[in-house]
């Protein structure tokens, strides 16, 4: 993994949280290379003990936040609330759930109730 071109951008945060390092690496690669997000940055989220990602989708201008986690973890709503607080209360965040076969499922999470768009 250290020889992968994406490693330098993650080298600060990956060793800090080894249990979720795989999830962060997979999510970063997916967003950067497959989904082609721009302005992708790695953030440190000590309240959730993991790194998070911030960037923009291609051809869109809004900054979005993605928190990677692994399928084997169990989360709680207080954990999510801490995440919202630490990221500065964005309107919504994406939770990237990583599986060991490298599949990632993204869930959009908002702090309150949301009406369907259509």
């Amino acid at each position: 993994m250290d020889t992968h071109p994406s490693y330098p951008a993650l080298s600060e945060v990956l060793p800090k949280y080894p249990k979720v390092a795989g999830a962060l690496f997979q999510t970063y690669n997916d967003l950067k290379l497959a989904q082609q997000w721009t302005d992708l940055e790695v953030l440190d989220l000590p309240s959730c003990s993991r790194g998070a990602l911030r960037g923009k989708r291609p051809q869109m201008d809004t900054t979005l936040y993605v928190i990677p986690c692994s399928l084997s973890e169990s989360l709680s709503t207080s954990w999510l609330q801490d995440a919202f607080k630490e990221l500065g209360e964005p309107p919504h965040i994406y939770l990237a759930i990583n599986a060991e076969d490298s599949s990632i499922v993204y869930y959009k999470i908002s702090p309150g109730i949301v009406k369907p768009p259509v």
Binding site: M1, H4, P5, S6, L14, P18, K19, A21, G22, F25, Q26, N29, D30, L33, A34, L71, S72, S74, I97, A99, E100, D101, S102, S103, V105, V118
Partner: protein
């Protein structure tokens, strides 16, 4: 042609040609290939040996190579020839930047050249999503129009004029100039084509095998070598067996990780039992995270037909004391709630999959010695039973 409405006409020639092509490319169900040397004449000696059980066929082993990655708990196959072999012969692994087959490089080159003739499955998915979005907008607009019309009619005291609301089965995408493919030639891209060829794009994708898939290939067919990333040396079967189990033990706090190595409820072992069971019965087994399950069973492969079955691996402890002393919190080992089961069943019924609960019994450490975990032979002590789940509606299902 819309991608979201079912294709009723089904272009027969096109479908047939693709099916034959798929049958040819994905003809081998496993990485090993059996070859019979072509003999023009009937050779009596070889034939007699064949009757005695000494066949003339040779087994061709592709000997693929992968590297173990402890952080993602998987084996990476970076060699594109090996990853193609493993994908085409049994659908092992998944491209880490793609939906299934590693196609990232192809997609990037297509995007560069802006003259794609073959759409990868990711591009088809994007088209389908764009169409569905457009359909939803059209439907919402029609509903709003119908509501406005009904209001106006009520206010004027007349009958509302009927408004056609598009349905999923009959909606056709209109050719919108704004919603065209991103690959249609724009001025910037045509300039690029005339410029010097760009520097070759490095393939940053690898085929990712789960530990279960990798061990299945190594133990049963010996067609995969796993390199240790720290030493760059191939790992022996014994090293692989202990490393794959230790991946889950190392995540525990240090005092617990040593004794946890000898436990039968290691997540690697439990998941491997289920994987091996279904694979040995001939199913192609893939991950099921997209449908809230553990495994998906394909009859021939994802390329041929959608998965028919969705499997949830439910570990059961032969001895409840083992469960209480367990440092691993195995998923689905506790009694579940009806709402959870109902949810998973609903999700899968909507995609026409049948839910299977696979109960894996974990042997009691009081009955089977923990030293057995030192070798893969301990897998014989596990057992697995399946329960098929279908929703029953007494009013409707009278036959």
């Amino acid at each position: 042609m819309s991608l979201i409405t079912p294709n009723r006409r089904g272009g027969a020639n096109k479908g047939g040609a693709r099916r034959n092509e798929n049958n040819r490319i994905y003809g081998l169900p496993l990485p090993l290939e059996f070859s019979t040397p072509a003999t023009a004449r009937f050779h009596p000696a070889r034939h007699i040996l064949g009757l005695f059980g000494i066949p003339d066929t040779r087994i061709l082993n592709p000997h693929c190579e992968g590297t173990f990655d402890p952080l993602t708990c998987s084996v990476w196959v970076t060699n594109s020839k090996d990853s193609t072999i493993l994908w085409r012969r049994g659908f092992f692994g998944k491209g880490d930047l793609s939906r299934s087959e590693p196609s990232w490089h192809t997609r990037q080159m297509t995007a560069r050249k802006a003259a794609g003739k073959f759409l990868t499955s990711e591009e088809i998915r994007e088209k389908r999503r764009a169409e569905r979005k457009q359909f939803k907008l059209d439907r919402a607009a029609a509903l709003a129009q119908a509501a406005a019309e009904a209001e106006a009619a009520f206010a004027e005291g007349r009958e509302a004029a009927p408004v056609a609301i598009p349905s999923g089965a009959t909606w056709k995408p209109q050719a919108h100039p704004t919603a065209e493919d991103s690959r249609s030639p724009t001025p910037a891209l045509t300039e690029e084509v005339e410029q010097e060829p760009e520097e070759p794009l490095e393939d940053l994708e690898h085929l990712q095998l789960t530990l279960q898939e990798a061990f299945f290939l190594i133990w049963n067919f010996n067609c995969l070598t796993v390199i240790d990333p720290a030493t760059n040396e191939p790992m022996s079967l014994q090293q692989i067996w202990s490393t794959f189990r230790s991946v889950y033990c190392d995540k525990l706090p240090p005092p617990l990780s040593e004794p946890a190595m000898k436990r039968f409820d290691n997540p690697f072992l439990v998941n491997y039992v289920a994987y091996h069971y279904f694979r040995s019965l001939g199913w192609v087994v893939k991950g099921g995270i997209k449908f809230c399950v553990d495994l998906l069973l394909y009859k021939r492969g994802p390329v041929f037909h959608h998965a028919e079955f969705a499997v949830l691996v439910m570990p059961v402890y032969e001895d409840p004391a083992d469960q209480e002393s367990s440092p691993f919190t195995l998923a689905n080992a506790e009694p579940f709630s009806w709402s959870w089961l109902s949810t998973v069943n609903r999700v899968n019924s909507q995609v026409q999959k049948t839910l299977i609960l696979a109960y894996v019994t974990i042997p009691a450490s009081s009955r089977v010695s923990c030293d057995q975990t030192m070798s893969p032979a301990c897998l014989a002590h596990y057992s697995i039973r399946e329960v098929v789940l279908r929703r029953f509606l007494p009013a409707r299902m009278r036959d």
